[in-house]
């Protein structure tokens, strides 16, 4: 599968990455190789086989609805942010 420069730009935008031109060039080749490698799977006959979403065969893994004390609190959350105000995370204006 041919990966174009537009594909790379699109993927970079979706992933919130800013890439240098040189990086884009080398990623193009890398991605093509990866897709080539994975596409081997397309040769398998999967007719009549239901999709696998996980390999552990677990189901209904859930917990009770009880409030538990947390290891980390608001202060440790806000300590991770660049800026805070009024106990909130301060960020550049978004719309």
């Amino acid at each position: 599968m041919k990966i174009t420069r537009e594909d790379i730009d699109h993927l970079a935008e979706l992933s919130n990455f800013s890439l240098e031109d040189a990086e884009k060039e080398s990623l193009k080749g890398d991605l093509e190789n990866i897709i080539q490698y994975i596409s081997e799977l397309s040769n398998l006959d999967t007719d009549g086989i239901s999709p696998t979403f996980q390999v552990f065969e677990m189901e209904n893994v859930w917990r009770d609805d009880e409030i538990l004390a947390q290891d980390a609190d608001r202060e440790s959350l806000l300590a991770l942010t660049k800026e805070e105000e009024d106990h909130q995370i301060k960020i550049p204006k978004v719309l």
């Binding site: 209904n60 409030i67 909130q88």
Partner: protein
């Protein structure tokens, strides 16, 4: 007849009233709490944190599905929807795209319109952003709150039905006990898709989506505004743009927010951190059995007993309907009347926050009225006293006695008062007038007896005695 036919589909986000969030064990009720005080490392997405599914949220989703007359999909699973926005620290929302827990169903509106439900799925809410001039603030208290998103089919064709559909969803979700239903705090939010087409057209027109409406009135107004806006465009031969629009309550208008011409690429993928659900049939059966009474049950229960317009008003107050269902059916009409004409009167609005009278208090009250122990005015006074903190736990009779409101029904006592009144010289003329055929002075004489009895005489009995005496 309108020139264009309007077609409306509605997506509704319902916050589930669980104790904890969907994937973390922190307090889910952040109302009135300080920003970022209800958060866990899962909610702010520290590396390596794993979601832990709340069983109660799954159970509430099942209950909600049953209230929507929906099939419950025993097998369902979660997916990741990727996008970058500061209200979502993980960079993806956990939702159910491919296999939602709630399948097709329907909601029947009081008007008879049936709105089909396409599906409803479980997902997590995002945080709250507050915007200022040059910056925004992020509060993650709401991030991870369990939601179900209810997606309707495009079965709605008027602003009124759009409003009634949202209202009926609110009722279904509050009556079934899965949502607190506090619209002011965003417990339910509506996204409304609206398109116009010539009547009889095979294809629907291009739709605009009005996001994040949080009241029934804004839903109704936004639809009405969009009809005008889109029909003007079509009249001029212009095209409606497929876009997301916001609605302002202040201006009553919708404005463009972002164009949806190129569809967003969310790179959905199966959520690897959460194994799929495969619910036992018994869980669904259990929820079916414990499903509280829903609006349709109340309509069946009280149809014929309570006028429809009053019933629809009362249905906006789940606690009143639950109380009505408790009292003996033979009192329901009169209790409903007290609720709608006294309790819901504007001047008594604050009482709705207080505990309601007990079943016994209400039944005794109506019995006492029917026995003639209380006049209809006295009934209202006693009813209002039920909400008084001092009186709330007292019996109806005790309250009526304390307020000196028990009617005098004793014929001997009343006859004596009547005799005193008719022999009073001040009433001489009235008595003479009545005897010579003037019916209307009887009212005056009854009034005099009421006065002499300090308002406690039963007016009907007084009337009867007076007629006897003056024959």
């Amino acid at each position: 007849m309108k020139k264009y036919e309007i077609t409306i589909g509605i997506e509704c986000h319902v916050q589930l009233a669980t104790k904890t969030k969907l994937f973390s064990e922190v307090d889910n009720d952040a109302r009135g709490k300080s920003p970022n005080s209800c958060v866990s490392p899962v909610d702010y997405a520290l590396p390596g944190m794993l979601p832990r599914l709340n069983k109660a949220a799954v159970e509430m989703a099942v209950t909600a599905g049953l209230a929507l007359n929906s099939t419950i999909n025993l097998k369902s699973r979660f997916d990741r929807k990727h996008y970058f926005y500061p209200d979502l620290p993980k960079g993806y929302q956990i939702t159910q795209l491919y296999s939602p827990i709630i399948g097709p169903g329907y909601v029947e509106l009081p008007s008879g319109t049936k709105v089909r439900i396409e599906h409803a799925h479980l997902e997590e809410d995002a945080g709250k952003l507050t915007h200022f001039d040059t910056y925004s603030l992020v509060d993650l208290n709401r991030a991870g709150t369990p939601l179900i998103e209810i997606v309707s089919m495009p079965d709605i064709h008027s602003a009124e039905d759009a409003r009634d559909y949202c209202k009926e969803l609110w009722r279904l979700m509050t009556y079934s006990g899965v949502c607190l239903g506090d619209l002011y705090n965003g417990n339910m939010r509506f996204d409304v898709n609206i398109s116009l087409a010539e009547p009889g057209a095979e294809k629907l027109g291009t739709r605009a989506e009005i996001k994040n409406l949080n009241s029934f009135r804004s839903v109704e107004h936004a639809v009405a505004y969009e009809y005008e806006r889109q029909s003007k465009l079509l009249d001029r031969g212009e095209k409606v743009k497929q876009e997301t629009r916001g609605f302002s309550d202040a201006t009553g208008k919708t404005t463009s927010q972002r164009s949806k011409e190129e569809s967003q690429d969310y790179r959905y993928m199966p959520e690897p951190d959460l194994p799929p659900l495969n619910l036992p049939e018994s869980l669904v059966e259990e929820k079916k059995k414990s499903l509280p009474l829903l609006p349709s049950d109340y309509r069946r229960m009280f149809g014929g007993l309570i006028p429809e317009n009053i019933l629809e008003i009362l249905l906006d107050y789940p606690s009143l309907m639950q109380k009505l269902a408790e009292v003996d059916k033979k009192f329901a009409t009169k209790v409903a009347n007290l609720f709608s004409s006294v309790l819901l009167a504007e001047e008594n609005a604050s009482l709705l926050n207080d505990p309601l009278p007990s079943k016994d208090q209400l039944e005794d009250l109506i019995s006492m009225q029917e026995n003639g122990d209380l006049s209809s005015t006295a009934v209202k006074s006693v009813f209002l006293k039920f909400f008084d903190k001092e009186m709330h736990f007292k019996s109806t009779e005790t309250i009526a006695k304390e307020l000196n409101l028990i009617q005098e029904n004793d014929t001997d006592t009343l006859e004596k008062i009547v005799e005193d009144v008719v022999s009073d010289p001040a009433c001489e003329k009235a008595v003479a007038d009545f005897k010579s055929g003037s019916e209307k002075v009887l009212g005056f004489l009854v009034g005099q007896v009421m006065k002499a009895s300090h308002g406690k005489a039963n007016p009907a009995t007084v009337n009867k005695i007076l007629r006897e005496k003056l024959k």
